[in-house]
C-alpha cells in the first residue's frame, strides 16, 4: 500500500520563497544555471571485493554501485540469455528520515527505473552471458547503495550502475561441451556492454525547469521527470515522479532540455570507461 508521505524532508515556506526569488533572477541557490549539472566525479574499482564497482558523487549526493555475478539457470522464455537484477538501497546513514529495513516504495521505484533504462536500451549484451544454452547463464547483480542523499539520486545511480558494469569482469570459465568449470579466483572476460546509458532528471518548480535538482529544489518541486537516453538521442525510459502535473507542451520542453544535458554526462562517463588501448571497452 502506498501512503502520502508524512515524515518527508520539510522545507520552510520562507526558504521556498527564497529559492523562487533567486530563480526569478535567472540563477539557482548554488549559483548554477537552470540547465547545469552539479560537480560530478566517477571512480571505478572503489569496492575491491566486487567484480566491478563505481562511486559517483554528484554535488552532495554519493552513490556506490557494486556488481557481482552468479551462475544460474536461464528463464524458460529466454534460454540463450543471461539476466541482471538491479537493487537500490536507501541506507539509514544517507538521510535523517531513512529507516533500516526492506526497501520502501522509493527504493523499489528507483531500482525499477534504473533496471528499465538498462534493459530497454539493450546496454548489456545478455546473449553473451549465456554459458550453455537452456542450462547455464550468468546472473549479474547490480547493487546500488545510496550513501548520501543530496537530491537527484536516480541520475547518480544510473551513472554508478553503468560505470560499475564497465568496470566489471566475469570470472574465468572453461567450457567443455556441457561441462562448465568456473574459476572464481581468475578474471575472465569483461561484462559485455554495448554502449552506455544516462538518465537526466528535470524538476518542475513553479514555472521553472531545473536540471539535476539538489535536495531542497527536489523537495519543493511540483514534479520531476526523469528520461534515460542513448548517445544518439534515443529515449530508452521515462518516469514521472511526484504528484504535480505537466502540460503536453511542458513535456516537449522538458524532453528538449533533458536531451541537451546528456552530452556532459556521456563525456564524464567516457573519461572512465574508455581504455587507453583505444575505443570504448567491449
Amino acid at each position: 500500500m502506498s501512503l502520502t508521505p508524512s515524515n518527508y524532508n520539510i522545507v520552510p515556506l520562507i526558504k521556498r520563497e527564497g529559492i523562487l526569488s533567486v530563480l526569478e533572477k535567472g540563477s539557482r541557490i548554488d549559483g548554477r544555471k537552470f540547465t547545469d549539472f552539479r560537480s560530478l566525479s566517477i571512480t571505478q574499482g572503489y569496492a575491491k571485493k566486487a567484480e566491478g564497482s563505481a562511486m559517483v558523487r554528484l554535488g552532495d549526493t554519493a552513490v556506490l554501485a557494486g556488481v557481482k555475478m552468479k551462475e544460474d539457470v536461464p528463464f524458460p522464455d529466454t534460454p540463450d540469455q543471461g539476466n541482471f537484477i538491479v537493487n537500490v538501497e536507501l541506507l539509514p546513514l544517507a538521510y535523517e528520515t531513512f529507516e533500516p529495513g526492506p526497501p520502501d516504495e522509493n527504493a523499489v521505484e528507483l531500482s525499477r527505473v534504473v533496471d528499465r533504462g538498462l534493459r530497454d536500451s539493450k546496454a548489456i549484451d545478455l546473449k553473451r552471458l549465456c554459458l550453455v544454452p537452456g542450462k547455464k547463464v550468468w546472473t549479474i547483480w547490480i547493487d546500488i547503495d545510496v550513501l548520501d542523499y543530496g537530491g537527484n539520486v536516480l541520475d547518480a545511480s544510473m551513472l554508478a550502475a553503468v560505470a560499475a558494469l564497465y568496470d566489471a569482469f566475469l570470472p574465468k570459465v572453461e567450457i567443455n561441451g556441457e561441462e562448465v568449470k568456473i574459476i572464481k579466483e581468475e578474471k575472465g572476460e569483461r561484462v559485455p556492454m554495448n554502449y552506455p546509458v544516462v538518465s537526466v532528471t528535470v524538476a518542475k518548480l513553479d514555472k521553472f525547469f531545473l536540471v539535476d535538482p539538489e535536495l531542497e529544489e527536489e523537495t519543493i518541486a511540483d514534479t520531476r521527470l526523469s528520461i534515460s537516453y542513448l548517445e544518439d538521442g534515443r529515449i530508452v525510459g521515462i518516469q514521472k515522479f511526484g504528484s504535480g502535473t505537466l502540460t503536453t507542451q511542458e513535456l516537449d520542453a522538458v524532453e528538449s532540455i533533458a536531451r541537451a544535458s546528456t552530452s556532459r554526462l556521456f563525456e564524464e562517463l567516457k573519461k572512465v570507461i574508455t581504455r587507453p588501448e583505444g575505443g570504448v571497452t567491449q
Binding site: M1, S2, L3, T4, S6, E105, N106, V108, E109, S111, R112, R116, D120, S121, L225, L230, G233, R234, I235, V236, G237, I238, Q239, K240, F241, G242, S243, G244, T245, L246, T247, T248, L251, D252, E255, S256, R259
Partner: protein, 184 residues
C-alpha cells in the same frame, strides 16, 4: 487515521493499493505484493493526489484499493481510471477525472492501447494519464525505446484516446444519477 502520527494536519492522507489477483494472469501470480505492484501503487497514488482536493479533509485518510481481475495489458491505467471514478462517486471533490491510455510501438508502428501481445513483443510501452479538461499529465512512464519524434507523436496519439475515454467516464458518472429521475 491510525497510527495518528501518520495523519497530516492540512490534508487527507491517500492510501492506495494496486493488486493483482493470483488468477488474473496466465501463470498464477503470487498474491503477496510484488515490486512491480509497489511501484504501480505509488505512481497511481501520485496521479490521484494531483486530482483529489485532499486539503478539504485534513487529518483523515482516503483509501483506494484496486484489484486486477483479468490482466490484458494496461492494468495500471484501468486501475487509475476506475479509482478516479470511484473517488468521484464517493463525493470527494476533485479537480478533474483522470483518463489514461498506453501508446506503444509494435513492428515500428505507433499503436494506441496495447494488448498483451503488443505489450510483450512490442518495442515500447508508454502509459500516460491526464486530467483532460485541464490538459495536465498526471502519470507518465516509458518502457522501451522511442526517438524524440516518436515520443511527441505518441503523446498526440494518446491525447486522442484520452478524450474518448474521458467522454465515456463522464457518461458513466452521470448515467448513475439520470436513472433515478423518475422516482417521486
Amino acid at each position: 487515521m491510525h497510527p495518528r502520527h501518520l495523519a497530516l494536519p492540512d490534508r487527507a492522507v491517500m492510501r492506495v493499493r494496486y493488486h493483482m489477483t493470483p488468477f488474473s494472469t496466465d501463470d498464477r501470480k503470487n498474491p503477496s505484493l510484488s515490486r512491480r505492484e509497489i511501484e504501480i501503487s505509488k505512481v497511481i497514488r501520485e496521479a490521484l493526489e494531483a486530482a483529489v482536493l485532499a486539503e478539504t479533509f485534513p487529518r483523515t485518510t482516503i483509501d483506494v484499493f484496486s484489484e486486477v481481475l483479468q490482466a490484458d495489458a494496461g492494468t495500471r491505467l484501468v486501475a487509475l481510471m476506475s479509482a478516479s471514478l470511484a473517488v468521484a462517486d464517493a463525493g470527494i471533490p476533485m479537480r478533474d477525472l483522470i483518463a489514461g491510455v498506453a501508446v506503444g510501438k509494435a513492428d515500428g508502428t505507433l499503436v494506441l492501447d496495447l494488448n498483451e501481445e503488443e505489450d510483450m513483443w512490442g518495442e515500447a510501452d508508454m502509459p500516460i494519464a491526464m486530467m483532460p479538461s485541464l490538459s495536465q499529465v498526471t502519470l507518465l512512464q516509458l518502457n522501451g525505446n522511442f526517438t524524440p519524434e516518436e515520443f511527441r507523436a505518441a503523446i498526440q496519439l494518446a491525447s486522442k484516446g484520452i478524450e474518448e475515454l474521458y467522454k465515456l467516464q463522464k457518461e458513466t458518472l452521470t448515467s448513475k444519477y439520470s436513472a433515478y429521475k423518475e422516482v417521486n
